[in-house]
Symmetry: C2
Subunit: 225 residues, 2 copies
């Protein structure tokens, strides 16, 4: 089945919002898609007709299985293209999302499978988010927000939830990227800022605002090296 770019954007947005809250509201969608609630209602009715989501007026929506399948294919395409842009074309982190937002709507299935192969079947996109495989399976990585990492436990940066140029700037300043090993050494209650040891060497202090957008997994090897 082939859906319009607009419909695909709705489906993907719903998928992402469902990760936060089990049922997605009209307003939340309108905000996410920079559109008006009235437009959202219209579209929800159409997507419901196509059995992509469960919808009852005033009750919010959730994707059906079929809707989720579609969402995962779009996310797969989006993330593979982002990987391509960064790894093959040398784009910066922060530039790729917008372009992938268009590329994700290219319809050829064969194209995306070949691209996947060409890229070496990557597991995650440049921001650390997992890439669904050809069957739409996406490994559930239980990532922890850096704010929630206990003090004194080594962990590796696995993803970032903001890919603005400003964010990238700051990360570069602190020499933090995907895979960086770090450990919280101190928490300052006043502004909830964190003191960290990065890569076993530099000691830095970062804001709560930044920490909220960083996600980690517990370190596998008890990182000496």
């Amino acid at each position: 089945m082939k859906y319009s770019s607009s419909k695909e954007n709705y489906i993907k947005a719903i998928y992402h919002l469902e990760q936060e809250e089990p049922v997605v509201s009209t307003n939340a969608l309108a905000r996410q898609l920079s559109t008006k609630p009235a437009s959202v209602t219209d579209m929800l009715k159409k997507l419901h007709e196509q059995d992509l989501l469960e919808y009852e007026p005033y009750k919010g929506v959730r994707l059906t299985e079929s809707g989720k399948t579609v969402a995962l294919q779009i996310i797969r395409k989006h993330r593979l293209w982002e990987f391509f842009l960064v790894e093959k074309l040398g784009f910066g982190w922060e530039e790729v999302h917008e372009i992938a937002e268009e590329l994700e709507h290219i319809s050829s299935r064969k194209l995306i499978d070949r691209l996947d192969e060409f890229l070496g079947k990557p597991k995650t996109d440049p921001h650390g988010d997992p890439i669904p495989d050809a069957n739409g399976k996406m490994p559930l990585i239980e990532k922890i927000c850096l704010m929630d990492l206990p003090t004194g436990i080594a962990a590796d940066i696995i993803s970032v939830s903001n890919q603005s140029a400003d964010m990238l700037d700051l990360l570069k300043h602190y020499s933090i990227e995907i895979g960086t090993r770090l450990e919280i050494t101190n928490r300052f209650q006043f502004d909830r800022s964190l003191q960290l040891i990065v890569q076993g060497k530099s000691k830095i202090t970062i804001s709560e605002h930044l920490a909220m957008h960083l996600f980690v997994v517990y370190a596998k090897e008890t990182g000496s090296k």
Copy 2:
């Protein structure tokens, strides 16, 4: 300036049709775009408003300079993507046109310039057609239809004007591809078929129908080797 996919398809179609006849008719466009003449008239009026073409009712159209510039950018994108699909993703000749028909509408200028670089700034697409450079300059290659090649003169296949799977099949059968050196040794008047020597070795006879879709340039080196 950013134009809809639909508008871009019109502009490109007009550009191509202009190569055949100096002024493009409503019907020719409708045929090319698989749409109806009435729809074409609608669109021509819009494109005219945007100064992309000269249009007076009943008089046909021709692109303005600005229209040609847009056309060449789309053609550049189309052909670079085709090159990418064949050379990097291993697609066959005949499969790429349709996919490129979508990819050519991705808007990022930076994307296409990076892609160009990544591909090694190729001069021609997989069908032998020249790729406009970043400034929209496209080398004018004076190609000759194989039907018009004089007997006994060596020439190289430079492009094909049909990229169907059937065509590819036949070319494979005769071991003809872009770059193949050949020479006409005989013309049969009855069905206008041609006898050729291919690559100095095999003698074959091809139909007028096939020859009409093959284009050559005179051989540079007087091909012994």
